[in-house]
């Protein structure tokens, strides 16, 4: 049985990784997950300088899911290079660095700083965070801006780039095509859906930011539909995510057209969620006589 997949010539021992922001830099979950078993570790968003993020409360629960408005708090690229990357280097897995910024210049600062790092397999460009006021999603909801920023980043990047798409758009196919036209090596989707929750007894928003990004199993059918549409709109690989909780959910995304999948909110529900997803994919393959996981990709 072969669970390995290949994206842009990079081999993944299995198609499972974490969704950025739900797994810290990997170290936080080190007591629970042997990172050697993962197809890749995707870091929390890294900016050029430390970011404060949003006021609290930053998270709340919703039916079969959660909302967050962390606001991409992070210690900046220099701390990432000194502390987090050396930790991740110890493991036999791909390192994917999620890159965030308020402006093209800020994205390029990070991309330039990381360009010489051979132990980074991919950069994932976060143009879809709904929780920061400037930059971020402003680039990710306009096809023209998305194509431009992708082209600019690609020109500087030392690694292949994955553009992470927002679901908060009318046509995900148009956005996928814009990323491809700008030179993206791959795309990942979906980021969270912009949402709101009100505490009716306190007459207050549940999150200090008022709106937040919805994730978890509640959004899975939306994500599967968008992965299907995006993967049929472009010829570059797609990494699918949105509410994956087990191996069967992961197979659904593969069949929709994803070459690999990411587990997000479910890491919070069960720290070993990714290992269970990997085992679940293997079990599905055994049960259905599937020799190679690649047979599942785009199977519908």
């Amino acid at each position: 049985m072969n669970t390995a997949v290949e994206i842009c010539g990079v081999s993944f021992k299995n198609p499972v990784m974490d969704a950025s922001g739900t797994f810290g830099s990997g170290q936080e979950y080190g007591a629970f997950v042997d990172l050697n078993r993962l197809g890749a570790v995707v870091t929390k968003g890294v900016a050029n300088v430390p970011w404060q993020g949003n006021p609290t409360p930053r998270v709340c629960e919703t039916p079969s899911g959660m909302m967050n408005a962390i606001g991409l708090q992070n210690p900046g690229v220099e701390v990432f290079l000194e502390r987090d990357l050396p930790y991740l280097r110890q493991f036999d897995t791909n390192v994917i660095v999620n890159v965030c910024g308020h402006s093209l210049e800020e994205y390029l600062d990070v991309v330039d700083r990381l360009a010489g790092e051979k132990d980074i397999s991919f950069l994932e460009i976060n143009v879809s965070c709904p929780n920061v006021k400037e930059g971020g999603i402003a680039f990710g909801t306009d096809p023209g801006k998305l194509e431009d920023i992708t082209r600019n980043i690609k020109a500087h990047a030392g690694q292949p780039i994955i553009v992470k798409l927002s679901p908060n758009v009318t046509s995900i196919s148009d956005m996928a095509r814009a990323a491809e036209a700008g030179g993206a090596d791959a795309i990942s989707l979906i980021n969270t859906l912009t949402a709101m929750k009100i505490d009716i007894y306190k007459r207050r928003f549940a999150l200090a930011n008022r709106t937040g990004g919805l994730s978890g199993p509640a959004i899975r059918p939306v994500a599967v539909r968008m992965v299907y549409e995006a993967s049929h709109a472009v010829n570059i690989p797609v990494i699918g995510m949105g509410g994956i909780a087990n191996g069967e959910d992961a197979v659904e995304f593969l069949m929709a057209g994803a070459s690999a999948v990411a587990v997000g909110m479910y890491n919070f529900h069960e720290p070993t969620a990714m290992l269970q997803v990997i085992e679940g994919i293997e079990e599905f393959m055994r049960k259905t006589g599937t020799e190679d996981v690649k047979e599942l990709i785009g199977a519908v």
């Binding site: 936080e28 930053r58 079969s64 959660m66 708090q73």
Partner: protein, 267 residues
């Protein structure tokens, strides 16, 4: 830190909406006062684990006691659990109350407000043990603030054999009228160390008091959190200095906390 499927061997109602659950859990052997655990609801639609502070521990018999107030649907589910039920729990988590801070002190005040009282019980037990060994010589007093007599003075009976307890209630229906801090003022004593857990306004007042008196106060904070292990950055508190992990003036309550020296945080 581990996850385990822990069996409930006792559950009881302690006051209106306040419940105590006793788990058989191996992690009890690794935990200390002021740490917390994440408990996962059984419900298929409530997917986040609930952070609950450890009320008491028996490390030899591997018993872990949690006392919580029903605050939402997750804790409501826990309140309906029965002896023999199992829950997946993760812990022990965070940095609890530092016992070594008690060395050389002459009067230690433990201050609990409402559902902030439970974590002080194991702390008191541990301080008593140190006092019995002669490691600390301080007088230890406990100040417990409740809403009202009617709401229930939960755990008071369990603190009393271990220390002098001063009760206060918001409505004056039992003990001193006011908060745990009012109880302390009325007692007319001046502690040289405070350990506290309770609602934010109370902790904020204790922070001011400690600053004015020039003493150390260790306060236990809470905030909405998703992961409990420092990954999601949901549960941040503002700090007076740059945090070593975040590199901004924010610390993770789940990891650097939940107990902080009051002068280190902005609340």
């Amino acid at each position: 830190m581990r996850t385990e499927n822990a069996r409930i061997i006792d559950i009881r109602k302690l006051a209106e909406n306040v419940f105590g659950i006793l788990f058989e859990a191996a992690m009890a052997g690794e935990a200390g006062p002021g740490q917390f655990v994440m408990v996962r609801p059984h419900s298929d639609s409530r997917l986040l684990m609930r952070p609950i502070s450890i009320c008491d521990l028996d490390s030899e018999r591997r018993l872990l006691r949690l006392v919580f107030r029903v605050a939402g649907k997750g804790t409501e589910e826990f309140s309906r659990a029965r002896v023999g039920d199992h829950y997946s729990i993760m812990g022990p988590l965070g940095n609890g109350f530092p016992l070594e801070a008690a060395a050389g002190k002459s009067h230690i005040a433990l201050m609990g407000g409402g559902i902030g009282a439970p974590p002080l019980l194991n702390l008191l037990r541990m301080l008593r043990r140190r006092a019995d060994r002669g490691d600390i010589s301080a007088r230890i007093s406990v100040y417990l603030g409740y809403r009202s007599m009617e709401d229930g003075l939960f755990l008071k009976d369990e603190f009393e054999p271990l220390a002098n307890v001063v009760v206060s209630t918001d409505d004056g229906s039992a003990g001193v009228k006011g908060t745990a801090l009012d109880g302390l003022s009325q007692a007319g004593t001046a502690p040289d160390l405070i350990y506290a857990c309770g609602p934010l306004p109370m902790l904020s007042a204790i922070r001011k008091y400690a600053s004015k008196e020039g003493i150390d106060a260790y306060i236990s904070l809470e905030e909405r959190m998703a992961c409990g292990v420092g990954a999601c950055l949901g549960c941040m508190v503002k700090t007076t200095k740059e945090d070593h992990h975040s590199h901004v003036k924010l610390s993770r309550i789940c990891t650097e906390g939940p107990v902080f020296l009051s002068r280190d945080v902005e609340i």
